[in-house]
Symmetry: C3
């Protein structure tokens, strides 16, 4: 299974051309749109989102992960394996939390370049063929690098920021619920927000946080929009209160 994690959107031409390459190079392999609206041009926020959602997928899934403000520059192209899953994308920190949390990991620099490489669309021209090669089961024949060379050791273990706002206005943090005290309150939008199990456990209009279906702490308003109610967007800082 190839899983797309990008900021490309779905309506326009980007995801479609990536899928055309995958259909050509890895025919018959299911392709899943996980996020097409990952935090745009923000690999740090995207990294914590990716790590949480990737953990739900089975071994041998291949993540084609492209949040790449440096496309066309000299940043390297990477492939990584971590705990049985594969990751392909730019060398900009996007795989930091994945690598940090993995019990085993390996890293390759994709030195291969296609005959026709556009300056602006490496997702189609470089990363998609590389992901297809891995999904076909071919051993990557690229240049092996120490995992440490792609790390961002100064980044935190969990990110106390909003990393995603869904279409219902729920605001997903980069904090794993499992690392928070059971009775922690999250400071957001000038308020201290208590934990609940899920939407139907609080009154209509009430703000709460809960462990979402992929293990992240998520701030929500039952039958309302947390983003509008609390003034939250990607990058908003969250305080963890005892």
């Amino acid at each position: 299974m190839i899983v797309l994690f990008t900021d490309f959107g779905l309506l326009g031409p980007y995801t479609g051309q990536v899928k055309a390459v995958l259909a050509r190079d890895a025919p018959g392999v299911p392709v899943i749109d996980l996020f097409a609206d990952a935090p745009a041009q923000n690999p740090r926020a995207a990294a914590y989102l990716l790590a949480a959602y990737a953990a739900w997928f089975p071994a041998r899934s291949v993540f084609l992960a492209v949040v790449d403000p440096g496309v066309g520059s000299s940043r390297a192209a990477l492939a990584a394996s971590a705990d049985g899953r594969w990751y392909v994308g730019p060398d900009n920190g996007l795989f930091e939390p994945v690598l940090r949390r993995a019990s085993e990991a390996q890293l390759w620099e994709i030195a291969w370049r296609p005959e026709a490489l556009s300056a602006s669309f490496h997702g189609r021209d470089l990363f998609a063929p590389a992901a297809a090669l891995i999904a076909r089961g071919d051993a990557p024949h690229w240049h092996k690098r120490p995992v440490e060379s792609a790390r961002r050791p100064l980044w935190p273990d969990d990110l106390a920021e909003i990393v995603y706002v869904d279409r219902f206005g729920n605001a997903v943090t980069g904090l794993r619920a499992a690392v928070l005290p059971q009775d922690a309150r999250l400071g957001a939008g000038g308020r201290a927000i208590a934990r609940a199990r899920t939407f139907s456990d609080v009154p209509a209009g009430a703000a709460f946080w809960y462990e979402n279906a992929n293990g992240l702490a998520e701030i929500a308003v039952n039958l309302g929009r947390a983003d509008a109610t609390l003034g939250l967007g990607i990058g908003s800082a969250i305080a963890v209160e005892g």
Copy 2:
């Protein structure tokens, strides 16, 4: 064929994870995105939309229908067969018009629960595996219930409200065109709107209603937006004038 009818959106993580489950549990079965923007948290409006659009699909289609403001509460999970099509989703009225219009129907309560059931994402954890089981052709082995137990007898046969606004601004009602008098006018936005066959039959800028390609009465403005012109949104009341 598995047909998705949800309010999950496509960009974010929800539809992708549902499709990952379907690819795992029902490999090779085509999955169709029918609506990912069904009326959010509004099972009543969604129900009339679903019934009209489902009727176009062939027998043995499996509808995974999730508009589920009560997720995480004690509402039941249902599977229904009606006129040869299958429906899986929450017990909140979403299947009322389907069941009411069916010449034969059966109902099951899905008592099965997966080992890992999140509080907020039954679409992925519960309904998708159940839909995949039916799509594989396995007989559902759940608890059979009388069809009447899932009914909403006080709901109307057709819903005189806007149940969907498409990206062009056309406003779809919950009224089947076939039940309306041929010369009926629809009262909406303070105006009485006459019927036309289709867009190209009226002048640019003119409002009209017509039988859309799935049998519902739909209010439109030729080369314009009916929602903005007439002030219509999901839930706007429509009057039928003789």
Copy 3:
């Protein structure tokens, strides 16, 4: 491979029903969403977008191209082959630049009509079955027409307008970069914009134009939105300054 180029959107019911027809009539053929947000009701702008993006796809790709403000009127339905690729859609100029640039082309009028033809959704009822027939490899048995009969000879070779704005705010013109002088400036939003290779070659916030990954001249702002910065939208005129 069947490639969808429409203004139908993805969330609502249109693309899903088209794909249901393709799954029924051309099972196993990959279906790619290229554009679901082609310039709405603007076949002229859409035509230049289609020609540029289609050229990237391999021979035998079948483009189901529907931007069709005249649906339900007497406009004809066409199938064309051009340089090995196939095109199915309305006779409204949508294939003009494709045909003009082709070294060989053939044209058919699709006189066939399905038993159930809605007035408003020929994409589902007429064009999708026709595209599926071609994708299956069946010879089209329709009425052959001279290619000239579908031409728009007064349209320009390249269109000096914005034909698409992507989700990042980049504004795509209908001008092929290869026909512009290397040092051309593009006049847009009251400014004369110089060429760059790609985003990372200019400072943050700077406007530039570049040859995008499909050969069109595209106006962008590094780490910003060109549409908002320069006031550009579909249809905005662009001046080419030697």
